[in-house]
Each structure stands twice: as structure tokens, then as C-alpha cells.
């Protein structure tokens, strides 16, 4: 096949262990009797943005939720296969789930700040970690809010309720909350779908800045967004990983017919 342009993207199917943040092997997942994920195997590269696209209900959110075992919250959820982070299978019984979730942060579709002050929202995770000293908390809160580009807007009202913030600010607050724990991996479950275009742009810029610090996995319905922000893209359909490659290739020269149909909007 003719290479239209040169790029420095890695081949996701030939990643070395050192380049891999998350290594998924033969992951199958059921909710009660419903088979949601079918034999997913993929390696997500470190310090990159990987996006998951696909129809609603195709298992994207379930897949990223299995990276921090948030699926455990649902009764009747069973899974087989491995998800390796740092060479450890997080699905093993020995895994400390709380500790895993401090290393793998997550931001949800709807901004979900706790009904506490802005300050308390950001320290929520740190307090759970047993950080008690005021100084350490203050520093961490300031750093996290600066990382989430929210500091300048809220520095004068840190102790007011988080609900006075706008939707976009709330979502950045949720980012800050996750970043305060300095996660290695950040999972974003449609983080901009409830926000206006300008705020979306803001958050996309934020993601680009955060890339150097952590691996980002984003679920999105917005194809342009996936193409814009992500280095690699995986297309899921009905619980199966159809195609997974760097974003340029996937959006310009998809291998599979299904992928092409989806990205050109010929589905359904």
C-alpha cells in the first residue's frame, strides 16, 4: 500500500512491553448472561492518547471500565482474560482494587463533583490516601487545579460549593480531582459530550498537555475529536475489536469495510 505521508506512529500490533501501558489479553466480559466483550486483545501505548470509537452499546465504556475494574460495581459482572498494567494482571484476586484506581484515574461523561467545596473535591482522593497535613493538601490542590487549567478561575473561591461552577468548569474540576492522585493512566468516558464546543476545545487542549504525564484512553462518539486528539484509535463493534491502529491510518485508510462504513456514517 502506498504511504501517502510519513509519520512517527508506532505500530500498535508490535509494541514492546516497555512501550505498553495497558496490555489486554483475550478479555471476555458478561453482564449476567449478556456477552458484552468478545476476546479483546490490544496493547495501549504509553504517553499517548488512544481513543475508542463505536456505536452506543458496543462495549467501549465497559472496556475502559475494565481498566480500573469499575465494572465490579455491577452485580452479575463476570470476566475472563487478563488486563496487565505494569506487568501485573489487575483482574487477579491479589490486586488491591482501591490502590489500582488511584493509579488509573477516570473522568465520566457527566461532570460529577461531590457536593463539597472545590478544595474538598480535589483532596477527596488524597484524604483517602491518608494525606492529613494541610500544607501537603494545599500544594496538591493548587498543582492539580493548575494542571486542569482551572486554578485562575477558582483560586479565590476554593471553599465554596463545587456546584456554583459551570458545566465546563465542573468537568475540569473532575479532571483536577483525578490528577491530584498523579495517575499513570487517565480514562476518559466521553468527557466532552455534555459540554459546549468551546469548552470541548479547552478540554482537548488539556488532554494534549497531559499526554506527557500520563497515558490517556478516551471513549468518544465524536469522530472528529478522535481524529483530532488521539494518536491511536480502536473501533469496536458489538463487543468485538474490529480495527485498531494509529488514528491517521484508521481514519484515512481503514482496513475493514465495517470501519469505513462507520467513520463515513453509513451505519444504521
Amino acid at each position: 500500500m502506498l504511504k501517502l505521508f510519513e509519520h512517527d506512529k508506532l505500530n500498535v500490533h508490535e509494541l514492546s512491553d516497555a512501550q505498553t501501558a495497558i496490555d489486554v489479553r483475550d478479555l471476555n466480559l458478561w453482564f449476567d448472561t449478556k456477552h458484552v466483550l468478545h476476546d479483546i486483545s490490544m496493547r495501549i501505548p504509553k504517553h499517548c492518547i488512544t481513543s475508542l470509537i463505536g456505536q452506543s452499546g458496543c462495549g467501549k465504556s465497559t472496556l475502559i471500565s475494565s481498566f480500573n475494574r469499575l465494572n465490579d460495581l455491577h452485580q452479575g459482572c463476570r470476566y475472563t482474560g487478563e488486563v496487565n498494567i505494569d506487568g501485573h494482571d489487575i483482574n487477579s484476586k491479589k490486586q488491591n482494587v482501591s490502590q489500582l484506581r488511584t493509579r488509573v484515574g477516570m473522568v465520566f461523561q457527566r461532570p460529577n463533583p461531590f457536593p463539597l467545596s472545590i478544595y474538598e473535591n480535589v483532596c477527596y482522593g488524597l484524604r483517602l490516601q491518608g494525606v492529613r497535613t494541610r500544607r501537603a493538601l494545599d500544594d496538591a490542590v493548587e498543582q492539580a487545579l493548575k494542571d486542569a487549567a482551572l486554578w485562575d478561575e477558582v483560586k479565590d473561591r476554593l471553599f465554596e460549593s463545587a456546584h456554583i461552577l459551570s458545566g465546563g468548569q465542573q468537568q475540569r474540576l473532575v479532571f483536577a480531582r483525578a490528577l491530584a492522585l498523579k495517575p499513570e493512566i487517565l480514562l476518559l468516558d466521553e468527557p466532552t459530550s455534555a459540554l459546549d464546543p468551546l469548552t470541548t476545545l479547552f478540554i482537548e487542549e488539556l488532554m494534549a498537555q497531559l499526554k506527557s504525564r500520563c497515558t490517556i484512553v478516551i471513549v468518544t462518539h465524536n469522530m472528529q475529536q478522535a481524529a483530532r486528539v488521539s494518536d491511536y484509535t480502536a473501533f469496536l463493534h458489538q463487543g468485538q475489536l474490529i480495527e485498531y491502529s494509529d488514528s491517521d491510518t484508521l481514519f484515512t485508510m481503514p482496513d475493514k469495510k465495517q470501519t469505513e462504513d462507520y467513520i463515513t456514517g453509513r451505519y444504521g
Binding site: 480500573n68 484506581r101 484515574g105 465520566f108 460529577n112 490516601q129 460549593s161 473532575v174 480531582r177 483525578a178
Partner: protein, 522 residues
């Protein structure tokens, strides 16, 4: 009929009939509620409001003679002819009697400005014209003289009380000690004490005699005289002379007495302080017991229990428990808490006092425990509703930050559910404050000599019996029908009970609103 309506009316008409009917029923309900409230407020407030005294002349229905009395009147019935109810004093019934008088036999009726309402310390009341104050010389009555005589009399009473408490009590204690040590009857120490006792006793008798010389002579409307010892008189008020503002003053005094004093005359006069205190204490203890139990049970049911048939069965049983008649809980409390639990406690820890029971008898703690069980379902159901209203997104957010289930519940779910918990506690408080039947089995009594809280170690006496406003009302309403003052006092107690429940509710609602504002979600 239904067929007829359907044929004769259009859909719009039928709808308007339905609306009218429901509006009518709703307004009827409102009317009933307002009437209940009005009745209790009016009759209850009448207990405090000083009614003017009138001088009446009428022909007695029994003897046919003309009678002249000082009385407080109220309209008893209007149709078919007017009948007045009198509450009067005369030489035969100095402390009040009731009579019904037809308007047509009433000869004259005028305001008696010179007649006073004299209230005694034991709660009895008499209407008469004060004539002379004896202190110990007789003087014509005047307010200043009366006040002065009362002061002197009070000083004497205090002296007597002081001797009783300080001197005589000490002698009694010493004598009791000698009895315990089997000191001989004729021992010199005893003789000495006996002599001391005689000395103080003589002094008391002398003082009492001096005090008894202070009297107030009054005259009834028919000029018959009556003499009252000043020591018995609590207050004297020329009710008919009072201005409107002064009446308010008297009413407030009455309210203060009602709220701070113990009942007198078998719960028909005096105050209701012990009952008010008992009610609030019992409700307070119950809240302390029921809240942690209810909240923990609801947290388990809602957050931890597996979603299966057994949990569903538990949930249904809990809801059904709210409908169990309260007397059943009373019997359970008596059988299990009082006899079984209390009896075993006595056998284990209070053996030296047996056979006199300590905890094996109805008491305020068992009452609070019984009421806690009775209100537990309410708290559980309301808390569970509050817990279920916590958005899943927030829970997921908490878990995603590395919180364990317990941490999520403590830091996120419970604060957000706290308005729901408050709702449950409000309902529990309202129910417990108003309940009567089970309380009579497990600790509430008509008259308790001591409060459950006093200055004696351990200060809070959980095993003591207590008085309760609901029980007081029940007792007063049934056993004091004949007494003139009894029924109005029950209305006043009802009013107070309503006020207590209202205040507790308002406090809880304010608390809940603040929590809601604080933990507003979304």
C-alpha cells in the same frame, strides 16, 4: 346510575363534576383539620386566659330559692333556649361548683369588680370579695396590706422550712443511725437528741401558730363569710378589674406556671412540667437509639445486601412492621424488655436489691427502647429512599478515586442521603411523641414522684418511671370529667403536645432544608 350519567353528560361536564367532587372532599378535609386545631387552640388557650368574675342573681332549679353568686360564666347552649354554665363559689362549695342556668331564670348579671379570684397552692380556686387581712391584727383589705401580710407569712414559712430541713432532718438521720447500731432506748445520747427534737418541734409549732394568725377573710355574694389561712394562698387577682394588657400578663403567668410546675389535684391543676420533661427525654433517648440502628440497617439493605428474594422479603417485613398496632409493641416491650431483659439485669447486677426490682420494672429506658423498635421501620424506609436517590455517577466518581465501599458510604452516600435520614427521624419523633398505649405498659405513669434526671448520682435514672403528656391527657380526660378545672387543663395539655410535636418538626425541617442545600446534587 353510571349509565345515566354517561348518557346525560358530555365528557367536559363529567370532568368538571369529578374536579368539583374532589375539590369538595378536599375542602371538607381542610375544614375538619381546621376545626380540630381551632377547638384545641381555643379551649386550650381558655385555660390560661383570665375570665372576668360576674355577680349573678338567679332562681335555683333545685330549691326554688333566689341565689346570688360570684361566678365565671360561659354559654353552654343557645338552642332551643339560652343556657349559661356557671362556675361559682358559695359557702357550701367555697372552691367551686358548676351549675347550668336557663337564661329566663337569670334575674341580673353584672361585672363584679370587687370580687377576686383566689388561687390556692394546691390548685383550688375561689371567687369572693376580700374583706379583711389579719396580720395578726385585722385590717380592711387593701392590695398593699395583703402583699405585706403575704411577705410576713412567707418569712415565717421559710423559717419553718429551714428548721425542718436543717435541724429536724439531722436529728432524724442520727436517730436512724442509733437504731442501726442498736443503741439502747434510754441511752443519754438519745435522750439528748430527743430533747433537741422536742425543742425544735416546739419552735415549729409556735411559728406555725404565729403563721396561722395570718388569715384572709372573704365574703361571697350572699354576704356569707369565709376565712382562709394566708399560707394556703398562692395568688389573688381582681380579674374583673384587669385591663386587657394586665390580662395578658396574668395569662403569661399562667402559662409559665403550666410549663414549670408539677401537677396538683390528681392532674387537674398546677402544671405539666414533669410530663413535658418526660416526653422530651423519652423522645430524645429514642432518637439516640433508633437513628444508628435504622441508618445502619438501611445502609446494609440498600448497599450491601445481595439483590435476592430474601432481601426483598426483609424489605417487605420492615414495611409491614410500620403497620403493626402499637399496643403489640407495648406488650412486646413489657414481656421482653421489662420482664426478660430487665429481670435478668436485676439478677446479674442488682441482686442486693431483690426482690425489689431495679430494671425489671417499667421505666423510661424500656419505654425509649420500645418506641425505638416501633419507629425503626419508619427510619429504615426513609433512609433507604434517601440512599437510593444518591446518583450512581457520584458513587462511581468516588470509587474511581480509590475509595473503598465503606469510604464511599461514609464520605459521599451518607451525607447526600442525610436529608432522607432526617425525614425518617422527623417522622419517628412525631410518632413517638404522640404515642400513648404502649407507653402505659412500659414506663409512663399518671404521676411520678421524681424526674428521671436529678442531682443524685448517676444523674440520669433510666430505670425510673416517667410522666408523658399523652398519658396525662388520657388520664385527665377520662378521670376528671366531674372536675371543673380538669377538662380545660386537658385541652391545654393537648395544645402543648401539639406545640411540642410542631416545634420538633420545625427544627427537623429546618435542619433538613439546610442539609439539602448543602448537599444539593446536580
Amino acid at each position: 346510575m353510571v349509565e345515566f350519567l354517561r348518557n346525560m353528560t358530555t365528557a367536559a361536564q363529567r370532568q368538571s363534576y369529578a374536579i368539583s367532587l374532589s375539590a369538595f372532599l378536599c375542602s371538607m378535609l381542610l375544614l375538619v383539620m381546621i376545626s380540630i386545631l381551632m377547638l384545641i387552640v381555643v379551649r386550650g388557650a381558655a385555660y390560661f386566659w383570665p375570665e372576668p368574675i360576674e355577680q349573678l342573681v338567679y332562681t335555683s332549679a333545685e330549691s326554688g330559692e333566689q341565689k346570688q353568686v360570684y361566678a365565671q360564666t360561659s354559654l353552654h347552649q343557645t338552642a332551643p333556649h339560652k343556657v349559661w354554665q356557671l362556675q361559682y363559689s358559695d359557702a357550701r362549695f367555697p372552691f367551686g361548683n358548676k351549675a347550668l342556668v336557663n337564661a329566663d331564670v337569670l334575674k341580673s348579671r353584672r361585672n363584679a369588680a370587687d370580687a377576686a379570684s383566689v388561687r390556692l397552692h394546691d390548685g383550688r380556686q375561689l371567687f369572693a370579695r376580700p374583706l379583711t387581712v389579719t396580720m395578726p391584727q385585722s385590717h380592711p383589705f387593701s392590695a398593699e396590706r395583703f402583699a405585706k401580710a403575704q411577705q410576713h407569712e412567707l418569712a415565717l414559712s421559710q423559717q419553718i422550712e429551714q428548721i425542718r430541713v436543717q435541724e429536724l432532718a439531722a436529728i432524724h438521720i442520727k436517730l436512724a443511725e442509733y437504731d442501726r447500731r442498736n443503741v439502747e432506748k434510754e441511752a443519754p445520747a438519745r435522750e439528748k437528741l430527743r430533747a433537741q427534737f422536742a425543742h425544735w418541734h416546739k419552735k415549729i409549732l409556735a411559728l406555725e401558730e404565729e403563721r396561722n394568725a395570718y388569715t384572709l377573710q372573704v365574703a361571697f355574694a350572699n354576704q356569707q363569710r369565709y376565712t382562709l389561712p394566708l399560707a394556703d394562698i398562692a395568688s389573688l387577682e381582681f380579674v374583673s378589674r384587669l385591663s386587657w394588657m394586665e390580662k395578658w400578663g396574668v395569662a403569661f403567668d399562667n402559662i409559665a406556671v403550666f410549663l414549670t410546675e408539677s401537677p396538683k389535684q390528681a392532674n387537674t391543676a398546677g402544671g405539666v412540667f414533669p410530663a413535658l420533661f418526660g416526653t422530651v427525654l423519652m423522645v430524645f433517648l429514642m432518637t439516640i437509639i433508633v437513628t444508628p440502628f435504622g441508618v445502619l440497617a438501611a445502609v446494609y439493605l440498600s448497599e450491601y445486601a445481595p439483590d435476592n428474594g430474601f432481601t426483598a422479603a426483609i424489605r417487605i417485613s420492615v414495611s409491614n412492621m410500620a403497620g403493626v398496632p402499637s399496643i403489640v409493641y407495648g406488650v412486646f416491650g413489657l414481656g421482653f424488655f421489662v420482664y426478660t431483659l430487665g429481670g435478668n439485669l436485676d439478677a446479674l447486677f442488682f441482686t442486693e436489691q431483690l426482690p425489689a426490682p431495679t430494671f425489671g420494672t417499667p421505666g423510661v429506658f424500656w419505654a425509649a427502647l420500645t418506641m425505638a423498635i416501633l419507629t425503626l421501620p419508619v427510619v429504615i424506609v426513609a433512609t433507604e429512599e434517601g440512599l437510593q436517590r444518591v446518583p450512581d455517577g457520584l458513587k462511581a466518581g468516588s470509587y474511581a478515586l480509590g475509595a473503598t465501599k465503606a469510604e464511599t458510604i461514609m464520605r459521599t452516600i451518607l451525607p447526600i442521603a442525610s436529608p432522607g435520614i432526617m425525614t425518617g427521624v422527623i417522622l419517628a419523633i412525631a410518632r413517638a411523641a404522640g404515642e400513648v398505649a404502649p407507653l402505659m405498659l412500659v414506663g409512663a405513669v399518671k404521676f411520678a414522684p421524681n424526674l428521671p434526671v436529678d442531682g443524685e448520682f448517676p444523674y440520669l435514672h433510666l430505670e425510673r418511671q416517667f410522666m408523658h403528656l399523652g398519658v396525662l391527657i388520657y388520664d385527665g380526660a377520662f378521670h376528671s370529667q366531674t372536675d371543673a378545672k380538669g377538662a380545660p387543663m386537658m385541652f391545654a395539655a393537648c395544645l402543648l403536645l401539639l406545640a411540642v410535636v410542631f416545634v420538633l418538626n420545625i427544627v427537623a425541617v429546618i435542619l433538613r432544608t439546610r442539609l439539602r442545600k448543602r448537599y444539593l446534587v446536580g
